[in-house]
Symmetry: C2
Subunit: 291 residues, 2 copies
């Protein structure tokens, strides 16, 4: 139907399945992953931009079919969870990857510091409320993982509560999988030096001041504690139902390409189909001609 | 700051201010507006697509500044209300115009037939709940106007209640304007013949079946009643605070270009500014270098 070449006709832009290249493990060592690398991809920044545009077209096509299928009752949902240190590029992923698909097919939510009302509930309460509907691509910019990351590093919750949460998260995400939600958890992995350089840019450019918070520098003092908290959280919540992917993010173009490819992979696995007509096509054509 | 040319450096693509060309009036005669026309624009489909891409870039730049300003307390919001008969192109506007800006800056909602809970409230209750936050571009695909359009045509509410609603809508939208919300109400105006042709396409293409409802043809039987209801509703609710724009929509490319231009016009009128630093820039640079 479409003038675009079909997804399956296109050459894969990665030299290995992107899922396999980026998937975490239960004994992850974050130190072993170079934030400046571009695993599974042989090209450079220029080819990366071209490949992102091509993947964006595929995403846009498949997203429409995914949405259409849900209107006819297909129960699938996709939930992309973006985590990473400040400046890791979560916003850029939303703008440049999610921006490639129809806004009608996206449910985006950025989780901020919890409100008083949210704090009066279990940490997953506000998360449940933002779950995307069937047929939508949900995007969480930060998530329930903050409740085991900053809470651990800054001691906002006791150790026993943090422990409880790992289990609660696994139960929650397993339930999501049972409900036909494909959960894609992405850690955008940047280096300490790259963060310094990105923060410096925010201090150089008046059109970037609004993105800067003095607290961002305070957080750099506990960088290693954050890396440790990420590593522990990922090890404890990396499951078959809801796997983690570690995306090297010092190269913005690579991180965007990789997340786009993970999303495309998820849509292809669901393989949504255009719904059949639930009406008499020829009869409706006649009615229309007479109208 | 940006590598793009500044908005004010670009030549306007319309030969007259788009607001003036498309704005409705209190004695609107819909019959006098040709759905197949392209008022204020001298180009064709090809130049229209190029101009839409250029406006999209400007929109994307200004939207970021609009969002940034809100983080520093600017109270402005934009609300684009899209109305029109089935197949008029509301979804295409969202995909091709709203799709040009960062998904993080958009709050989109498609209003469907009201739920039992919504019906147990005043007709504006569900509308209020979906109002966009400061700094966002809100998009309503259908809206409270359904409650004076289909309700009038199909007699779902008594005439006296419809009368009450015109006033309630004006009060509501006036309050929005007081709250620094720029309300842009768009009627996508297609012809009966163009709708037949678009519905016929949905019946020809299996990838379009999901968009077809047998009820769409039933609605064609009361086409004139709908045109009359639109005309009355627009006359009664066209205010300085919340004006209506009649966008000829038989040419999809023109309708998209026109709505993009209306949106750009609204953003330029707000003229958002990058927030000043609320911290000591040089001091933070030193702290960052030491971190």
């Amino acid at each position: 139907m479409s003038k675009q070449p079909k997804a399956q006709d296109r050459k894969d832009v990665f030299n290995k399945p992107v899922r396999e290249v980026l998937i975490a493990s239960g004994d992850l060592e974050l130190e072993d992953i170079d934030p400046n690398s571009s695993p599974g991809y042989d090209g450079d920044k220029a080819s990366g931009a071209a490949d992102l545009a091509a993947i964006g077209e595929e995403l846009s096509e498949l997203q429409e079919r995914f949405f259409a299928a849900s209107r006819a009752g297909a129960p699938h949902t996709i939930l992309l969870i973006l985590q990473g240190m400040d400046t890791a590029g979560k916003g850029g992923i939303v703008r440049h990857v999610i921006g490639a698909v129809d806004p009608q097919g996206v449910s985006h939510h950025a989780f901020k510091a919890p409100t008083a009302q949210e704090l009066a509930h279990d940490f997953l309460w506000r998360i449940e409320r933002e779950l995307p509907e069937h047929g939508l691509i949900g995007v969480f910019d930060r998530s329930h993982y903050e409740d085991v990351l900053i809470h651990k590093v800054r001691g906002l919750s006791p150790a026993r509560e943090i422990e409880r949460r790992y289990g609660a998260i696994n139960d929650f995400e397993s339930k999501l999988a049972d409900q036909h939600t494909t959960v894609i958890k992405v850690m955008l992995h940047i280096s300490n030096e790259e963060q310094r350089s990105r923060l410096a840019e925010r201090l150089e450019r008046p059109d970037k001041y609004w993105k800067f918070n003095t607290g961002d520098i305070d957080e750099r003092e506990v960088w290693n504690e954050y890396m440790h908290a990420y590593q522990t959280a990922i090890r404890r919540t990396h499951t078959r139902d809801a796997p983690w992917f570690i995306v090297p993010a010092d190269k913005k173009w690579y991180a965007r390409l990789a997340v786009a490819a993970l999303l495309l992979d998820a849509l292809k696995a669901i393989d949504p189909q255009w719904p059949a007509a639930d009406f008499d096509v020829e009869g409706e054509k006649r009615r229309l001609a007479d109208s």
